[in-house]
């Protein structure tokens, strides 16, 4: 009786079985890698804005504090994007005729708001509150990175849930004195391993990690 399968069928079957398994595994891996990639998280990706606004210039060159523009960061969930009026406080005098500031002047003149593209965009089912993080001594820099070195703003961190949870479970390494919250390039006065737990105690930092803390 002749063989139904040739010898090579052994190899073929092995290859197809393992090939299929690794394909499935590879697909899963791909999904995991993709969902953590900066393509999805937008980490480190530059976003084109309607206006060439440079945080670097305003913070480093001019030395303006974060809260001059982001006024509600200490009181509200939303840090606040400045109204055109805030820009015009200075730019009615400084660079008053600069061509690239025309959109700002037009906005102020025509009473039409500027449309910025959101850089840090949490999903709609996540509720983040700026004010409480400032209150507990989390620096702007901790999450947003060296804004003072960003000519064009990008998202420094992944904003993945694990990134949030890491800090909520162990906030000590990320805390700084309240008067240093808006400082860029902050260096702790003493060892953070020592300072962190002290601040946890002083500021009564006890971040909740229940689901409803952020999801509701």
């Amino acid at each position: 009786m002749p063989q139904i399968f040739r010898r090579s069928a052994n190899t073929l079957s092995k290859v197809s079985i393992f090939g299929l398994l690794s394909l499935v595994g590879g697909l899963i891996l791909l999904a995991i890698v993709l969902s953590r990639s900066s393509y999805v998280t937008r980490q480190q990706i530059f976003v084109e804005q309607p206006l060439q606004f440079s945080h670097m210039h305003h913070v480093t060159d001019d030395g303006i504090d974060c809260r001059y523009c982001h006024t509600s960061v200490e009181t509200s969930s939303f840090a606040g994007i400045p109204p055109t009026k805030t820009c015009m406080n200075c730019h009615s005098v400084l660079f008053a005729n600069a061509a690239f500031l025309e959109p700002v002047r037009a906005s102020f003149r025509d009473n039409r708001p500027l449309h910025w593209v959101r850089v840090h965009d949490l999903p709609d089912f996540v509720y983040f509150n700026h004010s409480i993080h400032i209150k507990k001594g989390v620096g702007c820099e901790t999450c947003h990175g060296r804004i003072d070195q960003m000519p064009l703003t990008y998202q420094q961190n992944s904003l993945l849930m694990e990134w949030c949870i890491d800090c909520h479970k162990n906030p000590a390494p990320n805390l700084r004195p309240r008067d240093q919250v808006t400082t860029m390039g902050y260096r702790p006065a003493k060892d953070q391993a020592e300072l962190g737990p002290e601040l946890v105690k002083a500021y009564n930092v006890n971040p909740p990690i229940s689901c409803s803390t952020c999801h509701r």
């Binding site: 993709l34 939303f78 606040g80 102020f108 959101r118 089912f125 689901c211 509701r216």
Partner: protein
Amino acid sequence: MNDGNITESGALEALRGRLEATRGRQYWRSLESLAETAEFKEFLHREFPHNASEWLDPVGRRGFLKLMGASLALAGVSACTRQPDEEIVPYVRQPEEEVPGKPLFFATAMPMNGAGIGLLVESHEGRPTKVEGNPDHPSSRGATDLFAQASILGLYDPDRSRNITNLGDIRPFSAFATALQDPLRAQEATQGAGIRILTETVASPTLGAQMREFLMRFPQAKWVQWDSTGRHNARAGSQLAFGEYVDAQYAIDKADVILSLDADFLCTGASGVRYSRAFASRRRLEGNQAQLNRLYAVECDPTNTGSRADHRLPLKASEIEAVARAVASRVGVAGAGDAAVPQAAMRWIDPLVRDLQASRGRSLVIAGDGQPAVVHALAHAMNDALGNVGATVTYTQTAEVQPMDQRAALQTLANDMNAGTVSLLVIIGGNPAYSAPVDLKFADAMQKVALRVHVGLYEDETAALCHWHISQAHYLESWSDVRADDGTATIIQPLIAPLYGGKSAHEVMAALSGAGERPGYDLVRAYWSSPGAASGTGRVNASPPPATAATAPAAAGAAAAPAAGGARPAATAAPAAGGARPAAAAAPAAAPAAAAAPATPVSAAAAQFDRQWRQWLHDGVVPNTAFTPKTVAVRANFAAQTAPRAAVQGLEVVFRPDPTVHDGRFTNNAWLQELPKSLTKLTWDNAALISPGTADRLRLISGDVVELKQGGRTLRIAVWLAPGQAPDTLTLHLGYGRTRAGRAGNNTGFNVNALRAFEAQDILQGVELTKTGESYELACTQDHWSLEGRNLVRVATKTQYDADPAFAQKLEEGEGKPLSMYWQPYKYDGYAWGMTIDQNVCTGCNSCVVACVAENNVPVVGKPQVMNGREMHWLRVDRYYTGDIENPDTYHQPMPCQQCENASCEVVCPVAATSHSDEGLNDMVYNRCVGTRYCSNNCPYKVRRFNFLLYQDWDTQSLWPLRNPDVTVRSRGVMEKCTYCVQRISQARIAAKLDDRQIRDGEILTACQAACPTDAIVFGNINDPGSQVAKLKASPRNYTLLNELNNRPRTSYLALVRNPNTALEPAQPATDGEAR
């Protein structure tokens, strides 16, 4: 739901037998559950009705595998979607007090049926999202009724009229103002004899002044007010008893014994919230409660008030006059006569009269709006004879500006139109073409008027018959004012600029007066700055204020002019932290006053007025405008002069405003349409309510379509068996069967106006009923989410309670002590959130359900989905009956998520989408949920809701700004449930942490709690022994549902204590409370 109807006639006997056979009390939700019909049992044992959760497509194993394979392969991909780019659009000039991300609260008021209720409206960056009560307003005191809660959806209703049209062509308002000048000038020759203005009942002092001013120019013109559900009988009764129009103000909290003559005073009318609160204050057993009050209710159909009565007597509406006369003559009202008292009431009269007389000066008789004038007059006379006047009842002038005999006025108008003497008809609000008595043939009569103008929120049945239609501004978009039932005036300030350029009644009247396009702000402000407007309580009868003469400060007007992003009313209430009831008095916005001050020097008086005005806007009340009581004398012998109503045999029909859509003004409000009516649990329809006994005699079951015939008019309508309905009486609810209501309201229910004749707007006698043999599917939720028996409702009489205050806890079925598989149960160290619901004060008014819908972005599913048991309400109010089918005791039990400590839902979730928080909440994480529905299956309280389909309307743009930005908008395939308003908890927690303090008791109010007029719902930290909720949980009345399951719910209930008259209901042994 027709799945469980009693399908055989004559089954009633079996039911009665079953009731008699049960030992002790049995509580049931529907006749079907009582009968334990096969259909009901199947309905009960399936989680969802038949065919609602099955795969019915003819797809075999192969098809299934294909689909599953594809789903699995693509499941991972769905997580890889990249979020679309989002924009941030900041203000150009940020308004003062505006903090992005924090809501502001503005005080205003909602006018309805000739009175207003004071509100605080939550505004997120210029868009109103939620209505709360104004704690400073006497008719609200922080709570609202369901209509106020639902009115926010009315603002964003996509079917609202968007244009000013002339014969269908879109025109600007200026064209209207110009077009009317010629006809008006033509009328000047006849002093306006051909002009008629038809409004709803007006309680706006400014509009009243404008009307009077208009009538000074056109003395022969007529102003007609008409509301199809107005208080016509109460007005006529006041004329009959006193010879003048007065409003009775009841001090219900001071009354020990209350007799309601067909009056649903707790849940109907402008005073419902105020009276509910007062009534509840005498029903609490905790604290220093002196004495429970006792309520007797004689009524023809089951009402919320009747459900709270200690003694309830169902009688035909026409027989209630006889009872009123009998009681009146016994308490000493001269000439009341002694009509033949119906058999059923015989044994009632004497104990009732003794009780009333024993409480002289502390009793109260209230007549219902559906009862004829003489019953109202008798009630006034009885209160007089019982010495209640000045104690539990006072009389004041009316909240409406110009009380009149509205019915006669409407009839005269119809006659005038038919006679051709009307050449200009302006209808401001209301929908008479739909709601006017059918025999007036109002729509036909209207067509004989040369020029017809309609001002309304919708292009409705009336608008279709008019030449001009002016889209009206919603009360949340316009400047106006309104008096509350006690006279307190509130300036209505807009929360947002008119979405569709609508005009307010004031602006239309100004245009008619030739003042052109004056903004409502100027008109209202000019009225209130006129001398005498705000001082004292007097109606401005004598001196019409110069509504057009005075000019408001231009700069102030400009400051208040709505900006593009949303109106910025001049004064703000303090933004509240978390869900706390906003303290309106905390931060008077004095600063804008300076900003608005005009450059030109203004007189000190103007500056003074400006400060005052801002204070009024901020507080939501104009101080000292409540009416002072006036002395009125009951006319002698009025009762003898009115002949007692002759008894008519046969069926009787009563017309009532619908419990949810009212007179039809809310027919297109889907929240109210889907809200189960508190006593019938019907949604999306009305039906003729009929008592089970009468239905049995006529061989009818729920859903049968019958034809009602009277005086040549017919109506086909489905019947619904309502336990507690008076025999031989059909209740027909108004407001349904509309044809031009909008996409939600069109063709829902039956238009009962077809039977409502001028002479019989409340009670129609001698009605013939024929069974058509057809049946109609009604969507009823009474058997949905059933908890299947057990001791859910626990009731004792006052005597039993005094003997054993902890009676409710003795009805537990379980071990009595908590079980745990851990040697040490989890300890909640910080906050531990809990809730108590006092069933003894709950009236079942449904405000909480609508408040929950508004706060939590709960979607509407529509009638077919309700019939599938898929309604999404996070909070339902279960209604239980006990006792006689014809007159059962009725109890309401609000059911939110019980937030169990040992939650059955959590352990079965395969993806940990529902898990426990360290403060004891069952968190629900929508983005984790994969929709297995195991949790709902395992929930013993049946409080979880599943999005079978995409119920949220994501496409209709006008609904986007309505949504609460603090709550996720859920999509298809996701389970959801009550969260104890966790967004409000979070906000309060953060606010407390920012201030370095603990959350204060009462700082967090859940949406249901805030809306509750009786404070039945109390929420707080049960770890804090000083908190109100902890104190209530320590009450002996406190019990949890299904305690034997060891779920340890955080929501607990306070048992009911009735206060019956022992002469009518002999004291029963304490064991009676034991069920089955």
